[in-house]
Every structure is written in structure tokens, then in C-alpha cells.
């Protein structure tokens, strides 16, 4: 039985460590840390004792069945949901009820939504430059320069003066990515970014995300796109019923999953 070279600590521990010789992206510095995070919706517990550390420039892909808490988890990271127990620390700032902390964290964390959520009453360029101009207080020229750069990065600079309603789904999502990037975040969160897209538009968005990963952005991606996970992820996290069930490198995960729950899920989707 061939063991993937990534298996450093043996295959029967819950966690596997990425020992890849190509350890270019791992720098060891923790950007996001979740310790013992619980989240309740009324009596229903959506997150059960989540412990997760994400290192700088790491790409973490979270997969799992619906209702497993994956979206809830990343929404807790930028306070779109409020966690009930445990600690969440982003780039040294602890997430609490302190408005200043929340705002600081939100400035450094960018989010891309499943439903894009572009502002329909503004042009594409205005969507992208709104954050830098209002929050970082940049002047219009600097903001638009950066905005166009970001639009070029996602390969739709020519749409800058159109309105979101005039764009296709794939283009809208790429604008959403550019909007998040324009804030120059340290971390990018993706909440099922391709789930609302027609199949022929998924690849253009995934390409943008892959380019982002290659350029060294720290990313947490909730998705069903297994190809993306295999290709780009440094670590894959499998969640079910509000808990982290298994974590590992893509090789470990897809070729040698340990937990029964993981095997069941993979058998259903692959």
C-alpha cells in the first residue's frame, strides 16, 4: 500500500500534517485562530467546539454536507454571525463585542458571498471603490486606480462602468472578488462562491480564485468544487453536524480518508 509522501506522522491520528517538500506557502504564522468555538441558533447547536488555525498564505478548503456549519463558521470570522463560546482571533485582534475590534477585523478580512451581493445601484467600479474611499479614506484617483487593477486581475476591466444588472453571473462574482480585494485584506473568505452560477461560468470564477491562491493570499473557501480543493488547497477540512471531523492535505483526504463519516460523504459526491 503506497503511502502518500505527505504522511509524516502516521495515518491513524485525527489530524495530518502537511510535510510536503514544496512547503512554499507555509510560513508558520497563524492568521486566524478559532478555539473552542460554539454557536447556537436557539436550541440548535450549529458549531460544536471548533478548533482551527489558519496560517499565513495558507489555502484552507472546508467541505461537508449542507447544515454542517461550514458557512456559519466563516461567517463568525467576520462577525456576520456572533459566536457564543470560545475565542476567535484574527491577525492578533480578538473578535468580541467591541465595535472597534469588529471594524478592524472586517477591514482585514474580505468576503465573497454565494449570492454576490453587489450593490445594484452603483456601477461596477463604484462597487469596487466604495470601501477604499469610505473606509480607508482614499481619494478618488487612487481608489479607482486600485479598482481597475483589481478588475484587471479578475479579467473584466472593460465592465468597469456597467451596472451589476447588466453582467452575467460569473462576471458579477468576479466583481465581488475584486470588491473584496480592493480593501487589501489579509484573509479572503469564500462562502460557496460558485454554487449560484451556471456551470459554464464556474470555471472563470475558479480561475480567478486559483490565481489568488498562487499569488499567496490566505484563503478559507467553503465549496463543493472538489477539483478546486484537490488542486489548490493546502488543507482540506471536513465538517459535519457542526464539528470538524477530519483535516488533511488533499492527497490524504481524497485518497486515504480516515473517518467513516468522511468516507461516506466522499462516496456520495465523488
Amino acid at each position: 500500500m503506497s503511502e502518500p509522501s505527505a504522511m509524516g506522522n502516521g495515518g491513524d491520528s485525527d489530524a495530518a500534517v502537511r510535510v510536503d517538500a514544496d512547503a512554499t506557502r507555509a510560513t508558520g504564522e497563524t492568521v486566524i485562530s478559532c478555539e473552542g468555538v460554539d454557536k447556537f441558533f436557539g436550541d440548535f447547536q450549529a458549531l460544536k467546539d471548533i478548533n482551527l488555525r489558519v496560517g499565513r498564505q495558507e489555502v484552507v478548503v472546508i467541505i461537508g454536507p449542507s447544515g454542517s456549519g461550514k458557512s456559519t463558521l466563516i461567517r463568525c470570522i467576520n462577525r456576520l454571525e456572533k459566536h457564543d463560546r470560545g475565542r476567535i482571533v484574527v491577525d492578533g485582534v480578538e473578535m468580541s463585542d467591541d465595535v472597534r475590534n469588529i471594524q478592524e477585523i472586517r477591514r482585514e478580512v474580505g468576503m465573497v458571498f454565494q449570492q454576490f451581493n453587489l450593490f445594484p445601484h452603483m456601477t461596477v467600479l463604484d462597487n469596487v471603490t466604495l470601501g477604499p474611499r469610505l473606509v480607508r479614506r482614499w481619494n478618488k484617483k487612487k481608489a479607482e486606480e486600485l479598482g481597475m487593477q483589481m478588475l484587471e486581475r479578475v479579467k473584466i476591466p472593460e465592465q468597469a462602468h456597467k451596472y451589476p444588472g447588466q453582467l452575467s453571473g460569473g462576471q458579477q462574482q468576479r466583481v465581488a472578488i475584486a470588491r473584496a480585494l480592493a480593501m487589501q485584506p489579509k484573509v479572503m473568505l469564500f462562502d460557496e462562491p460558485t454554487s449560484a452560477l451556471d456551470p459554464e461560468m464556474i470555471s472563470e470564477v475558479l480561475d480567478a480564485m486559483k490565481e489568488l491562491a498562487r499569488s499567496g493570499m490566505t484563503m478559507i473557501v467553503v465549496t463543493h468544487e472538489m477539483g478546486f480543493a484537490r488542486e489548490v488547497a493546502d488543507r482540506v477540512v471536513f465538517m459535519a453536524d457542526g464539528q470538524i471531523v477530519e483535516v488533511g492535505t488533499p492527497q490524504h483526504f481524497f485518497e486515504n480518508p480516515q473517518e467513516e463519516r468522511t468516507k461516506l460523504f466522499l462516496s456520495q459526491i465523488l
Binding site: 467576520n78 462577525r79 456576520l80 471594524q103 472586517r106 477591514r107 478580512v109 474580505g110 468576503m111 458571498f113 449570492q115 451581493n117 453587489l118 450593490f119 445594484p120 445601484h121 466604495l130 470601501g131 474611499r133 469610505l134 473606509v135 480607508r136 479614506r137 482614499w138 481619494n139 478618488k140 484617483k141 487612487k142 481608489a143 456597467k162 451596472y163 444588472g165 447588466q166 453582467l167 452575467s168 465581488a176 470588491r179 473584496a180 480593501m183
Partner: protein, 396 residues
Amino acid sequence: MTQTDAARAAPDQTRPPPWRDVRVLRVVFQVVFLVVVAWAAWWMFNTVRTNLRLSGLEAGFDYLGQPAGVDIRDSPFRPSQPVRDAIVVGLLNTVRVATVGIALATILGILVGVARLSSNWLVRKAAALYVESLRNIPVLVIIVFMYIAVVLRLPGITEAADIVGLVLASNRGVYVPWGEATGSVGVFLVLLGVALVAALVVAAWRTRRWNETGTPHHRLLWGGLVFLALAAAAYAALSAPIAITLPTREERVVEGGIALGPEYAALLFALVIYTASHIAEIVRGSILAVPKGQTEAANAIALSGYQRMRYVILPQAFRIMIPPLGNQYLNLTKNSSLAVAIGYFELTRITNQIIANGNPAPQSILILMGCYLALSLIISLFVNIVNRALSLERRT
């Protein structure tokens, strides 16, 4: 053989006999329908004419030139003037109450609507109480109540209540401050225009500074202050060309200010508070109708609460609001017709009086309906123009 050759070679499609041909049947059916409707209309018209003649009333519109015999309070109208003049006076009175009512109701409605979303529990509940009470009572009941149980209960003119030193309330009328030209009003208005332009220039300058440096523009504040300062300067320089006269009472006579008749005051007040309760619900509903994802996206790029409202939520809520708001304006205008119950001489009351004086009813009511229809169309037109101007570009 090419395809076109084959097509030419095929026989003509057999035409079905006319009584089964769908196209013929459609046309015939519609013609029959129109004939029936036209016949019914003609028959009705004829019946009305016959009945009018039998009752000794005329069947045409000549009566409009006859003396109205209507005595209209608080107006220079004389009963000897023709009927059509009376109708015009009524129309103007309707417009008077409708325009002021729409303006005041919108302001109050927006305030209450926003209050219903306040983070302050007391404010929220008070606004909800206001809305839920007034929405469930017929507007006529409110109008009658305001007139009989409020305005008519106000103290007599000799003991008129003085509200915050500005408004005199009595059962003969409500007197509010008004302006009076005491100097060169024309010049003052021109100077106000200049002040407005200056304010716009300042706002543009602040916007340019925002574009260049990124500091918040606060242009409304700057523009507003500049306008007020220049207006005050012009006012002083021209030594008060317009005086605000406060109503003051001397025995039974009131000097200054402007008088709102008791019927007008009651009608206006009732219409404003009733319509405002509906507008408040529309405002609240529109803000809530903005998709939650917009709030989340705004939060995700770290906009503050105020910035989120100002740049993301309110612009979208405003667009959603326009059609139902227009509908409420139509309702207010139509509800003003209920003044007939309290004797305010707007259009419906005057028409009622005209009919009571022996003029033919069908024509008079038709004219009445026509006037309201015209008003409705005008308001709808405005609303549609605004709606179209604000509508968002869609992907074709």
C-alpha cells in the same frame, strides 16, 4: 432540389372555411363584442336622457353657464357666478388640501417609519402604536372626529389657545405664522437664488476635495450653512423684505398670520395623520425589503452603520418605495372628497350643493369623476417619471 425549390413545389396550405378559421373567428368575436358594448352604452345614454327630460332637467351641459346659487365660505365667490366657476373653486380647494397634505404626510410618514426601526424600544413601540391605531380606523371616522370632537371643541376666539407662541387655535379657525411682503421681495428672491447657487458651488468644491484627498465631504452641512449665512445676510441687507407675521389676537380680530378654516384644518390634520400611518408602513417595508445580503456585503467591507444606510440601504429602499408612495398620494387626493361630510368646500361638496340646487345629477357627477380622474392621472404621471428616472439598468 434545394429546400426552397421543395417549398415552392409543395401545394398551398388549404385554407379552412371561414367559420372555422381561427383568425376570422377572432376578428368577428371582437367586432361582435364591441358592437354589444357600444349598443349597451348607447342604450344607457338614451335612457338617461329620457329620464332627465321626464324629470324636467336638461340633458346636456348647458347648465354649467347658469348661476350656481352656491354660497362658498371663505372665498370671493358670489352665488351669481356660473356653475363652472364654482367647480373651479372646488377644484382649487381640493388641490390646496391635497398638495399640503401630501407634503406633510410624507414628512411625518418617513419619521414614523424610521422610528419603527429604531433601536430605542420606547420609540419603536410608540411608532407601532401610532401606526396600528390609525390604520384600522376608517378615514371618515377620523375626519369627523377631528372636526366635531377636536376643532369644534377648541375654545372660542376670545379664549383662543396659544400654542408655543406661534399658533392660535380656536373654533373659528387655526391661525399659523405666514409671510408678508414688506419690502423688495423680488430682489430678495433673486438673492436667495444666488445663495442657492453659492451653496451648490461649495458642495461641488467639497466633493472635489473628497475625490482628491479622501476626507469626508460633509457637503450637505457645508452647503446648508453657506446658504443660511448668505440668506441671512441678504435678509439683513434688504432690511427684512419678508416679515414673518405671527398671529396676534385683539378681542375678536386676529392680525397677522394666515387663517386656516376649521373645516380645512380638521380635514388636513385628519388626512395627514391617517396617510402618514400608511406611508410609515411603506417606508418600513421598503427598508426591510432591501435584501439582507446587501447589509452583509456592506458589513463585510467594514462600512459604518451610517455609511451603510446612506450609501447602500437607503438608495435601494427609496427606489422600492416610489410606486406604493405614489399610490398613497392618490389615496389622499381621493380621500379629500370626504370633506363633503364636514362642510369644507372642496370639489365634492360643491358638486353636492350644485345638484341640491336642482342641476342634473348624472352630468354633474360625471364632471366630478372626470376631475378626480385628471388629478389621478397627473399624480400617476409624476410618479411614473420619477420611477423610470431612478430605475436600475437591467441586462437585456
